[in-house]
Amino acid sequence: MPEIKTVLLYVLVMAVVTYLIRMLPLVIFKRKIESRFIKSFLFYVPYAVLGAMTFPAIFASTASLYSALGGLLVAVVLAYYEKGLLPVALSACGAVLAVEWMIRMCV
């Protein structure tokens, strides 16, 4: 582990780079973009980003693949019926707990 002054310099570099990436596009693009292609592109970005972040990461997000699959199934069904963010997220957690409890019972 480097000495504390170096560590703080690392933290500063991390924070500045991360902030600039978030800040510059938000400050530069104030006008509404008119191009139909770019507007369509930006319309799809959130869905594409969240899809890529969720899969395959969700399979490794819990202690076992089976509990992750259980949570995924419950989340997909409830999301399909448009149950809202918190109910979907908490039900997925509940399903994970239930599956892991069953696994412990069976093993």
Partner: protein, 239 residues
């Protein structure tokens, strides 16, 4: 251009941010634990979370700090892993109402995390500064508090609870993307393409050496560009 409605209520934003904050608790808890076990003082772990507010970047940064990597490598790694935020900020810039001045943009940019962006994008029409400030509150508190608890009491939550909380963030993501995919087919195609590509980059040898942050950029840009090319959004639509 017709007048679009703007979502600009602080309390609505705060309420929408609570599930994000709860989800962050478990992730930042893990970060705090890892930071302390790799030798950082508790206050430094908390300071990293307060100034960075990003998961993948912080975990990678921790590895580099411990290894004593060159500063340049730290900067480059953060740039690649976090470049997806540039895409999100660009997308968010098109959703802000007229009341969000440069000064407010400087402040809001700091809190534009994956989940904050996702929830803001999910609002109908435009969003205002009060809504965004409200939305950022709970995630910030959750992220910093979780880091502190994880760092201070390394084995606070039982393993089963931590495991269950791990899926919360993804459950939320699914709740955001599935309803629009159900109502508008092209969204479904874009999601499926992006997911397929992301899985390829995770499981295929050689491809899986590309950093996770960069994979997300590649998938998002390719899938969204394909979507925009094949299914351009109607003028005046909810884009």
């Amino acid at each position: 251009m017709q007048q679009m409605q703007s979502q600009n209520s602080f309390s609505k934003g705060f309420k929408d941010g609570v599930p994000i904050g709860l989800g962050y608790l478990s992730v930042s808890f893990t970060f705090g634990m890892m930071a302390v076990s790799s030798g950082l003082p508790v206050w430094v772990a908390v300071m990293i979370s307060m100034t960075n507010l990003t998961s993948a970047g912080q975990f990678a940064g921790l590895t580099l700090i411990t290894a004593g990597a060159p500063m340049f490598e730290m900067a480059l790694t953060q740039l690649v892993i976090n470049l997806r935020y540039a895409l999100m900020s660009l997308s968010l810039s098109q959703k802000l109402d007229n009341g969000v001045s440069t000064l407010h943009r400087l402040a809001i940019a700091f809190g534009n995390t994956d989940e904050v962006f996702a929830v803001a994008s999910g609002q109908k029409g435009e969003v205002g500064k009060r809504y965004l400030y409200g939305l950022i509150c709970a995630p910030f508190i959750g992220w910093v508090l979780g880091t502190f608890i994880g760092a201070a009491a390394s084995s606070f939550l039982p393993e089963t609870i931590r495991s269950a909380l791990g899926i919360a963030i993804y459950g939320m993501f699914l709740a955001i993307i599935i309803p629009p995919a159900k109502h508008y087919r092209p969204v479904l195609y874009v999601i499926l393409f992006s997911v397929g590509m992301s899985c390829l980059f995770n499981y295929v040898p050689v491809l899986n050496r590309v950093s996770a942050g960069f994979v997300i950029i590649l998938c998002a840009v390719t899938a969204s560009a394909l979507g925009a090319w094949l299914f351009p959004v109607e003028e005046g639509g909810d884009a």
